[in-house]
Symmetry: C3
Subunit: 347 residues, 3 copies
């Protein structure tokens, strides 16, 4: 796709300064702009780049005053940042606006599928599965038997959803994520071997959830593992069986949450955090990356860090002393020597 | 599938109390039971729910004495828990009892496949591969050339098994797991670049192994990476080249084991544990989540924790003092001041 | 494939000692050699195995002097280790030397594909994708629209490459790796929910990069996430949006690098390391496994360890004292008691 500065200016209700016929075909940061790219200047800190950029078109604020000649065509708008965000969103929608059903794919005759779908080649839709409208099912996606999927859902290549799971509206799941694999449950036998405990529950992802690539969410033993509305999960996260994650909680990559733990709403977790099973985390808690959380958190809105996790400031203070420990030990040795001498002296 | 209370009672050799014609179509915990669901009461702690549940049928012990009216139909049996386990297992077997070969799939003409198989659409079975009887190969599974697979094996969607690997009987591998990718071996060159060391070994999974979703097990440089009988691996685990894991060892999610390390039998590891390479871990060792294990463990049956891992109790004690470190430092400062004064006084 | 000792000796320009007609069909370590296998002896430490091995053929150095009878046929060469490496490399090349296009696969009519390719069944090549010569695209690989791939690239089963990404020459990507999924970017709304920030950049892998199985590399918000020439990434690694990793850096499994961080050249990271976002790591830095790196590293060639990461030796020294903390606390208690008494005495 290729647009002229004039086309874009019309779309944004802006004013062209320079050659309106110049064309662009991609978006770029102003400091990385090359010929044929469209950029923007919102933060005055970056104004210097306006005079050196090779971008062909730059969106700027109406009130910007130039202090040197500019090579690029300018489009002046009320708010350059939000104007550019609009374009970025539209660009992405355009990129991802696939439609139609590619062959060969596998759609079980009993499956119910909506309208305006994209179904990629080698996608699999199982028995009694239900898929809403306007969904995008990329190639090699596996939707097992009796799965229910809402409207406007995007499943990128290689996503697997095990049988009986339920996916809400506007959900995005990235490649390789696995929804509904068996919880990790085994009963020990007297001879040291284990017998598998059947995992017959499912996973429910509510509306507006996003799941990162290669993240795994296990089905409940019975009942449901539940990811509430608006939760955002990064890549390579492990969510164990019977976990529940409250609305609008955001979790960074490689974090793991053990079985039956309940995480509150609007919680924020850094990467590589670990939570033990069967605990409860209060709303608006925050956990620093690599924290190891071994107890429930009952007070809302606190920051935690370290393994085992303690209040953030306490962790910071302990870490400072840890770095001085060898020196502290020497000071204790020294004190003991002096005291020996003092004791001798006082005898 | 739908059953009457009478059907289920016959199957369990029980006695119906109430309407034997009522039907159920799913299993549920007693506190989550809805109309049409079958539940059980084994633990007296949950007896309260028996009088409020909406489950249509509840399995109870013969000796249970009711203390209030019950809406659900009861089935009395000798042992409600084990009776329910039987149903749960049967339910799961029914759910997963797929048969037949879906098209299109790819089966190399030289591959040998057993009887009573399920092979999903878009599954790939390579040259000279051998697959036993009663296996379930879900859609988009990749079985590369010369792989050998035993009987009663289940490979969920998107599993990849690289060439030459060997899978025993009754193995379950969850979606996205990768068996036999190259070990991470590179020889440094004088210019700072690396040359790949060819990884020509394989991976062997013995009988009764279960592998979680998106777990990765690398092939040996030469010889075999071996996962012994009955080992259970959770999701997102990394097993490096030439590792050997002893029988009935259980490892939780996101743990990583580095190259050539030998783990004993009946070991238990929590999540996010890391082991360095070329060490040996004694039988029945236990490692707390997030431990970092940098040395061999020679004594059997001990618990370990922390980074670097130390005996569990020692780690607990150190953690307690770490939380008091800022206070300890102040006490040392105080002691030094007092001693300065005492020294002045004694001079 | 099967070769005689004589065949191999000719290839290696060696001398046969014993039965030149004996055949071998696999490679093995000398201590694990079975009939039909070819092994080597380079390290004198292993010479004992030469007299007990069941390998049919063993490659040895010209100057080796036997001290007991040997059952195996020997092939004498100038340097047994490098001779065996040559065979190992050839063996692997042979194993992986697939050619041709299996059906069904999906190649968009607009895609440009090179010569001497292997394209496995159920592989997907999207609109306007470009693939060089001599590439191996295993089954169920997903190459999305507008992806560019160089020559001699190997993509194992189940790899996904999102639209617009660029892959250099001689790149190897293992199964389940995801290149180009969305960066984890969300703008908070006043009601606690989040709005997705469109991620319109891409990922660039330069020449000679190897990516392990189930590793995830996110596309940039704008611009590119860049993995420079010769970088080797192990399994289950997370690389966030807009990260840049310098040439010949090697990273072990399960490490995570947060958004916009720039890692230098020839850096070495152990497994399960975490780096926060927006920092810079100097060339030739080394990080011990499980380190948590929260600040930029400006000095080149230093070793780091711990969370938060500190110089390696300082971490070692602190860890030693941590193990003695309970004892140290007792010593402080003791000092305080003595001093109380001394103070009383001096009053």
């Amino acid at each position: 796709m290729q647009f002229t500065a004039q086309d874009i200016s019309l779309l944004l209700n802006g004013t062209v300064e320079g050659d309106g016929a110049v064309t662009v075909h991609q978006l770029a940061k102003i400091e990385e702009g090359t010929e044929g790219s469209l950029s923007f200047l919102a933060n005055p800190k970056y104004e210097q780049y306006l005079y050196t950029t090779n971008a062909s078109v730059v969106i700027v604020n109406n009130d910007l005053q130039l202090t040197a000649p500019v090579k690029a065509t300018l489009i002046r708008v009320e708010n350059a940042y939000s104007a550019f965000s609009v374009l970025l969103e539209q660009y992405n929608t355009f990129k991802l606006n696939k439609k139609g059903i590619e062959q060969p794919c596998f759609i079980h005759p009993s499956a119910q599928i909506g309208t305006d779908l994209y179904i990629g080649a080698f996608a699999y839709i199982g028995q009694d599965a239900k898929i809403g409208n306007n969904c995008k099912i990329y190639p090699n996606v596996n939707i097992s038997d009796n799965v229910t999927i809402g409207d406007n859902v995007t499943l990128f290549s290689g996503v697997t959803i095990y049988f009986d799971c339920v996916i809400g509206n506007n959900v995005i799941i990235h490649s390789g994520a696995v929804i509904g694999s068996d919880g990790f449950g085994f009963a020990p036998n007297p001879d040291g071997s284990y017998t598998k405990v059947a995992q017959i529950g499912n996973v429910i992802l509510e509306d507006d959830v996003e799941v990162g690539s290669n993240t795994t969410i296990d089905r409940a033993t019975m009942g449901s593992t539940i990811i509430r509305k608006g939760v955002k999960l990064d890549n390579l996260i492990q969510i164990a069986h019977n976990v529940e994650i409250g609305a609008n909680t955001v979790i960074a990559a490689q974090t793991g949450i053990s079985g039956s733990t309940k995480v509150g709403e609007n919680v924020i977790m850094g990467g590589q955090v670990g939570l033990v099973g069967h605990i409860t985390i209060a709303n608006r808690s925050q956990f620093q990356a690599q924290s190891g959380v071994s107890r429930s958190v009952t007070e809302e809105g606190k920051k935690w860090a370290g393994t085992p996790a303690v209040p953030y400031n306490a962790n910071m203070r302990s870490n400072v002393v840890i770095s001085r420990l060898p020196e502290l030990e020497k000071r204790i040795n020294e004190l003991e020597k002096i005291i020996q001498e003092l004791k001798k002296g006082s005898q």
